[in-house]
Symmetry: C2
Subunit: 639 residues, 2 copies
């Protein structure tokens, strides 16, 4: 690992987003998603599934108070993933085992939002939630409402399934964001206290366990970066090093003999440093891989970085949907085998693509290679954005590339494929994850090292660094133009990512290409302009992917396009794109020459060359699909 | 309904099969499948899952003896579908709730086999089993080992799930076959005694229930035909008329309010006479539809026959695989929605295609229309034959049209798709069902009415009827030739089915075409020859079926062909058939001109016309696939 190449991302307080494309979306998150989720956490959204999140914290707070007074509380079973109204007693914990994380994710989004856009009323509401949360913390620092409410004698007895360390991770991330935005350290102190308990509980000569659902690793690195307490970094490293060792801790805690290679789902089948393929639950995967990259960088650990690179390559080249979606199977919400990327059965969870962006940024910080930001861009502009309705009030968890509503309704194999976005879910991982990512885009735009600022995403913004203040004006999505007004503090190099989709660009300055970036020496105040040619392209998926044989997709810039029934009538599979279509781009939509196969009457008949009528095919950006009612959709089209 | 058109099938004792294609297969069933299953029923096959079938009858026999003596037996729960070694006490019932049916199906096959090929040793073994079975019958006629062993006070309390009436149906069919072959009426008397109990238990002013898994209806019609006892026919009619009435009996027996339209799985969502689409568990479906056709004919019931025709049309035109497979989804082993016929996720159970043949014959007996025998032929020569390995020692339950072994191993959605045939299963529905169908092909070959003998399947055989003795010599599968040496008893009409796949044929006599049959007047002793042109055809599936867009299949005569990896190397999806291939037919295989798409390196790249190498593609009959080890297979190929 070449330590000279290390970079760090610019922080949220150094970058202010102001972008024609993104302003609308971040405003929806600020004005619609965050307030909506505030109510959802208290179960005040009519027609939405109950969260129980704040209710659990209030219950836990009362029990924590009793524990301090030495008063015993009733014990309830802590033995399953979800506790619904029917199966759980009134005073017991309700909801999913990871329900606490909802409010932490919300607080994280609120922190980012407040930094971009101060809002006293919102801050007051967040402070009230923090008060409720902190009251639930036990004296020893422990804070997970499932075990506090149901049985605090069983804490840390099922790391594999019951998400205590996962909730802890989100608590830390929420606390850091909120502290950075407001200076209010109440939640941060609580998080550190919990972190200290964890450091005292796990490690060499202590419990040699690790999280069933990763994220604590990433969070502990962040906490170390903020507090400079090395024990947090070491704790993260321990979790990564210990994972997958035999005998498996997950077997030990269940009191049984080690079962060989049974933990692919948790990426705990072998030690992370020996892994080279993305497997198991996709969100867990990318959260682990992100932390592996963090630790590889922090400890200059070549072996671990090599594992990260192998896994990255495996995802990028064999397990990535064109939309940046990952996780091809609903079973375990997991990565499937190489090149298994079915369109109509995809899982491609919004959260997984968000996690892929986390992983990508960390890889960018380890190594100069535009692939990382290329993939992040693909995920961001397609699967991540697709996750949210235009009004920010309904969400996709699953982002398929082909939808036939009839199949979703009648075919149980496709029950996870929703033809329209849904309201708040009880298992509400994706909406708050979306909110926190979109509110912190600032942190995913630029990285820098000693002499270079890397522009990874072309998002209009103002940035301040030790090298220069730069005003970036972007109409990247519309016409590929980005300009940089640079007020130099000292000479430096500006490195502009040349996106993999781009065949041709105009750059107003001299540059040198390396690792996918155009490097420009900046000595004085200057203005630089780059224009990427935004031609509509037909993109072919490797013919190793069986689902896409004989088909192609349409892209313009980073946006993947799709066809919908409402524009092209029923039976999208009968459409065929001309190999040399005359593309017309109008108001964000693309019109192309094509054909419609004439329907067969007989189920089986002697082969005759299919007959086609000419037609115009309308494509819209994939991320906008499903906003006009239930209908067929497809990314790929026959060619 | 035009009663003049009614026909009946020729019985097994009037037709003797002697056919170059079928002799080998019926011999495998006789010499390999039947002896193998004899051992499997006693759990004497090493490495095969346990059946527990005979073991249960022995246990039940002991308890039945105690009951006669007024001695109480311990009670075990009768509350689930399967009782494995771990979950059931030693003295309790073991296996699936329908386990009794295995031996009945075996006895049915043995009966047919003995008629074709007497065998004292086999008959002795069957008699021993019948002895064990009859000892388990209670004095009131009841015979189902689950309830006799576990709790005979709960009999007939869960018709929906626990298969007592299903086992009864198979008992009747087995008993009739065995009686016809041997004249031994011991099992037949036991079956009649059980049938009498059922007639006394169910009906108007009695329990208004009906079977959860249909077959008793069909069996009761057969029992009526043998015994001429009208009560059996009426009982079958009652079961069909009562089915699907509201409030649902299945709700009543579970003590709850009727849930609307919840019983599609059992075809009990509405009354059969108002059904017009094939839904739910495919085997149950075709067993019900078969009985509906029986009852429609017996009672000259136009309304019921119209329902049969609608359902038939729905299967034939919207829910039938090219291989004659039905049931497109593993979930509920069920029919999916119209035109949903995925190749790689197909269920297409062997038993379902067997049941489709039952349904087809009964429809042929109601109406002169070659479609019925066409579909039966499609099912017989493809999915049914595919169900059994060449040596008769392993079996497919599921008959997919596309297999990628990797997907079967790693993708849980395809766990039901087995790349190689399996040994005996504990849920061994298909192997004995195959044995009984293949041993009774005689009954599926000809139908007749007052003046006409219909040749539905072209299987070499000798038949005796009131009109003529006919020797049929057939090399249908090899070269499409069939000849008929006719010794007339009285003038009659011979009707030869002209298969739907056949464009051209030579017939040595004058004929008139009607409803898909060539009608030939026969007045004197004569010899007639017909030769069907056996050209290799490319067959297109309707483009309403999404899975087959841009693809085609190859057929020769009734045989559907497929490609296998062992002949064509890996990645069969890269192969493309020429639109005008020069087909070469050699030793049952077909060689064709085609192309292999050159593999892409990049997962995503700008579209370029795919590049192909020329190649020769080898096709083998679908029913022979999977006999040379685990490998890729596909029926459809790009064109």
């Amino acid at each position: 690992m070449n330590i000279n190449q290390f970079a760090t991302h610019l922080n949220i307080n150094d970058v202010k987003i102001n972008d024609s494309f993104w302003n609308r979306i971040t405003e929806i998150v600020r004005t619609s998603v965050i307030p909506y989720q505030y109510l959802a956490l208290q179960d005040k959204i009519e027609g939405a599934e109950k969260s129980y999140c704040i209710e659990n914290f209030i219950k836990a707070g009362k029990i924590a108070a009793k524990i301090k007074q030495g008063i015993k509380s009733p014990v309830y079973p802590a033995d399953r993933w979800v506790y619904d109204n029917k199966s759980a007693e009134d005073n017991a914990f309700h909801g999913w085992v990871f329900q606490d994380s909802d409010v932490y994710k919300w607080l994280e989004a609120v922190g980012y939002s407040l930094q971009n856009h101060p809002d006293d009323e919102l801050q007051k509401r967040a402070d009230e939630y923090i008060d409720i949360i902190c009251k639930a913390q036990l004296d020893n620092g422990y804070l997970d409402t499932l075990y506090i409410i149901n049985n605090h004698n069983e804490i840390f007895t099922n790391l594999k399934d019951y998400h205590e360390l996962y909730c802890f991770g989100h608590m830390v991330e929420g606390a850091i964001s909120y502290y950075n935005a407001t200076g209010n350290d109440r939640l941060l102190n609580a998080a550190c206290k919990f972190a200290d308990l964890i450091c005292n509980t796990f490690g060499e000569n202590k419990i040699k366990g690790y999280p069933g659902h990763e994220i604590a690793e990433m969070a502990l690195v962040k906490l170390y970066e903020l507090t400079d307490k090395k024990q947090y970094l070491d704790m993260a490293k321990f979790f990564i090093d210990e994972r997958g060792k035999k005998p498996y801790y997950f077997d030990i805690e269940r009191g049984r003999k080690t079962i060989e290679a049974n933990y692919h789902y948790n990426q705990a089948h072998i030690q992370p440093r020996y892994q080279n393929e993305a497997v198991g639950h996709a969100v867990r995967g990318v959260y682990l891989y992100s932390a592996m990259a963090d630790i590889a960088k922090a400890y200059n650990d070549d072996e671990l970085f090599t594992a990260c690179k192998s896994i990255w390559d495996n995802i990028e080249n064999k397990k990535l949907y064109i939309t940046g979606g990952i996780g091809a199977t609903v079973d375990g919400e997991a990565f499937s085998f190489n090149y298994d990327l079915p369109n109509d059965l995809a899982y491609a969870e919004t959260c997984a693509s968000i996690g892929l962006i986390f992983f990508a940024r960390r890889m960018s910080e380890c190594e100069i290679n535009s692939h990382y930001a290329d993939v992040a861009e693909r995920a961001l502009y397609n699967t991540v954005l697709s996750g949210m309705a235009e009004d920010g009030k309904s969400f996709f968890y699953v982002n398929p590339l082909e939808v036939l509503p009839e199949a979703s309704h009648f075919d149980s194999r496709k029950r996870h494929i929703k033809p329209v976005r849904q309201k708040w879910f009880s298992c509400a991982c994706c909406p708050p994850n979306l909110a926190r990512l979109i509110s912190s885009l600032n942190e995913y735009t630029y990285t820098q090292n000693d002499d270079t600022i890397f522009v990874n995403q072309y998002i209009g913004s103002e940035l301040k660094s030790d090298k220069a203040d730069i005003i970036v004006t972007s109409s990247y999505i519309e016409n590929g133009k980005v300009s940089f007004e640079i007020n130099t503090i000292k000479p430096f190099t500006l490195a502009l990512r040349i996106p993999s989709w781009c065949d041709s660009f105009n750059l107003s300055a001299d540059y040198e290409m390396k690792n996918g970036y155009a490097f420009i020496k900046i000595n004085n105040q200057t203005k630089i302009e780059i224009t990427f040619e935004m031609k509509v392209k037909i993109v072919k998926c490797s013919n190793k992917v069986r689902a896409n044989i004989g088909k192609a997709a349409v892209m313009r810039g980073p946006l993947v396009y799709c066809i919908e029934e409402i524009d092209n009538s029923k039976n999208l599979h009968l459409l065929k794109l001309s190999e040399t279509p005359n593309f017309r781009y109008k108001n964000g939509a693309i019109f192309a020459d094509g054909f419609r196969e004439i329907e067969d009457i007989n189920l089986y008949s002697e082969y005759e060359k299919p007959q086609f009528d000419e037609c115009t095919i309308k494509f819209i950006p994939y991320y906008t699909w499903g906003n006009r009612g239930e209908n067929e959709m497809s990314v790929y089209i026959r060619i």
